[in-house]
Symmetry: C2
Subunit: 373 residues, 2 copies
Amino acid sequence: MADKPTKGLADVVAASTALSDIDGKAGRLFYRGYDIHDLAGRTTFEETAHLLQCGALPTRDQLAAYGAELVNGRSLGALVEANISEIAEKQAPMEALRTLVSLSGAENPDKDANSAEANHRKAAQLTAQQPILVARYHAARTGAEIPDPDPGLSIAANFLLQITGKVPDPRQVEIFDTCLVLHADHTMNASTFAARVCAATLSDMHSAIVAAIGTLKGPLHGGANEQVMRTLQSIAPDQVAGTVRDKLANGEKIMGFGHRVYKTEDPRATHLRRMSEELAQAAGDDTYYRMSKEMEEVVLAEKGLYPNVDFYAATVYHYLGIPTDLFTPVFSVSRMSGWTAHVIEQHADNRLIRPDSEYIGERDQKWKPIDER
Amino acid sequence: MADKPTKGLADVVAASTALSDIDGKAGRLFYRGYDIHDLAGRTTFEETAHLLQCGALPTRDQLAAYGAELVNGRSLGALVEANISEIAEKQAPMEALRTLVSLSGAENPDKDANSAEANHRKAAQLTAQQPILVARYHAARTGAEIPDPDPGLSIAANFLLQITGKVPDPRQVEIFDTCLVLHADHTMNASTFAARVCAATLSDMHSAIVAAIGTLKGPLHGGANEQVMRTLQSIAPDQVAGTVRDKLANGEKIMGFGHRVYKTEDPRATHLRRMSEELAQAAGDDTYYRMSKEMEEVVLAEKGLYPNVDFYAATVYHYLGIPTDLFTPVFSVSRMSGWTAHVIEQHADNRLIRPDSEYIGERDQKWKPIDER
C-alpha cells in the first residue's frame, strides 16, 4: 500500500449520519437539524434522547410512552445487582462502567437481536440504566445510603438526588439537565466512531456501547473534564496566568481547549460558561469560575485556542456537588443517548468499517531457525 | 460538511503500521516483513506473538524470557476466579470474554500506565490469559473437570488439553499452533481498528482490547467461522451444490467467502485447506472437508469469490474437537497477540482518531413547544 494515511482521520468523511451536524467555522451544532441553542434550556434530556433515538422531538403522548420505558429501564437486573459492590470496590469509575454494561447485556431479552425494534428497546434501557449505574457505583464505594430511583423524577433530578443524597434545588436540576442535552451527541467523535466500527461487524448494541465507554475513558476524549478540574485544583488562585504560561512554555497540554472540528468557540461552551458563572454566584464562592475565565483568556492569547465542552463542564459539575472522578461517567450518562442512536443508524444501513493501512516496517525479511537469529 | 464518505472506509488509508502488510492482488500477507508462508508451520505462536509485540523473532534467550512471562500470565486473578462461573452461566462466549477481560483489568498492577514497558507487560499477560479464559469458561458452563495449565506446554498444546480434557496428539498441536499463527494479525481489520480508535484517546490497553473483543464478535468479522460450521451442518452432504446455488439465488450471503482486501486467494486459506484435509483423513470421515471443497467450487464459479481465513478454519477447529461456539473465541486467542501489538504501536506515536461525517438529515428545524408538535 503506497498511500499515506491522514493521521487520525482528520477531515476524512467516515460515515453519513442524520443525527448531528457541526459547522466548525461558524461554531454551530445541530441535533437532527435543531440548533443546539434552540434546544439547550428549552428541551429536556428525555426529549433530546427521543429526538436522537426516535427521529423527532416527542409529542406529549410519545414522551409519556418513552418516559415509561425509561422508568422501567432503571432496574439493573439480578446479575448487576449481585456484582456492583465488588466491582465498585475494585475498579475505577469508567473501568467499572465498562464491566457493568458488559455484564448487563446478559439479561437483556433482546440480546441477540439487531432489529430496529430491539435496538430501540436497548437504547432506551441503556439510557435509563447508565445514571443509575453511576449513582449505585458511587454509593457502593462510599458505603452511603442511596435513595431508590424516584419514578416521578427526571433523569437529571434523580441523578442529583442519588449522588448528593439531597433533594436537589430545581434550578440545579435545570442546569444539569441542560448539561445532559449539550453532551448528547457530537457527530463522529472517537467513542461514537468506536461504537459504529463495532456495530458495523453486526455485533450487538451492548458490545458497541462497551467499546464506546472504554474509548470515552481516554484523557484526549471524555477524560478531559476530570483533568480540567484537577488542573484548577493544582493551581494557586492568584497565580493562574503565570502558571498557565509556564505550562504552555514547557509544552504541556492544557486540557479543555481546542477541538479538531471547531475553529471558533464551541457553542456548548457558551452555555456551560454561563451556567458555571450562575452556580458560582449561587454558591457564594466563584474562585474556580474566575480562575477558569482567566485561564481561558491566557490560552486564547497564547495559543489561539477556545474552550471546548469539557472546560466549563468541569466547574459546573463541581458546583453541582458531583465528585471529580465521576465527571467522565456523567459525560457517558448523556452520550449514551447519542451512542445508541448511532448504533441504530449503523445497523439500519450497514457496511463493515474496514480501512486500509500504510505499511512502514521492514520488508523482505528472511526467516531463520531460532539458533541462527 | 459537503463531502461524501467512502462507505465503510474501503480503501481509505487510516493508519500506518509496521506490524503487518497485505498485497491483496498477489494474495500475500506479511508480519513485520516475513511472508506468512515462511512463518506458518516453522514458527510457533509464542515466537509470532514476540515478533509482533517486541519487533523481532526471538532468540532462544528472548523466547525463554518471554515464555516465562506467558506462563506467569496464565493466572487469572482473584476477581476473575470469583466470577467466571456465574458469568459463564449467564453470558455467551464472546459476551463473557468481553466482561471477563474488562474485569481482569482491575487487578493489573500497571492498569493506569500507557508506557511502552507497561503495555508490553499487559500484552504478554493478555495473550497468556485469553486461552485460559476460554478454556475455563467452557469448563464452567459444562461442569467438566479441567486440568490445570501445564507450564511445560505451549499455548496451543495447553489449550487443546484444557478444552478436550485429553493429552493432545502432537500433530494436532502443530496444526492448531499454525492456526494461531495464521490469525495473529491482519492490518486494519475491524477489531484491530476499534482497538486503535479506543487507544488513540489515550485510554488504556484493557479498554482497547475489550472494544476489539466486542467488535470481533460480529458475524461480518470473527463471528464468520462459527457461521461457516453452522452452514455446513445445515446442508445435506449430497446436496451441497444445489443448496448453495439456491442460497445465492435468494440473495443469501455465504459466510467465509470474499474479503475487502484480497482479490485472489487469501494465503491463510491455502494452509487451512491443507490442514483441514489432513485432519479429515486422520479422523476417517472427510464429509465436512469434501462439502467445503464443493462449496468453494460453487461459490467461485457463481460469484467469483475465494474462501477467506474463516472458511477452512471452521472445519479445522471442528476436527480438533473444539465446540462450534468457541470458534470465534479461538480467533480472539490468536488475534490478542496482534491487537495488543497495535495498541503498543498506537500509544507510541499517537494522534486522536476523530473523523468527520456527512450530514444527511433534516435541516433548519424550527423548535416548537411540546404542545404544538
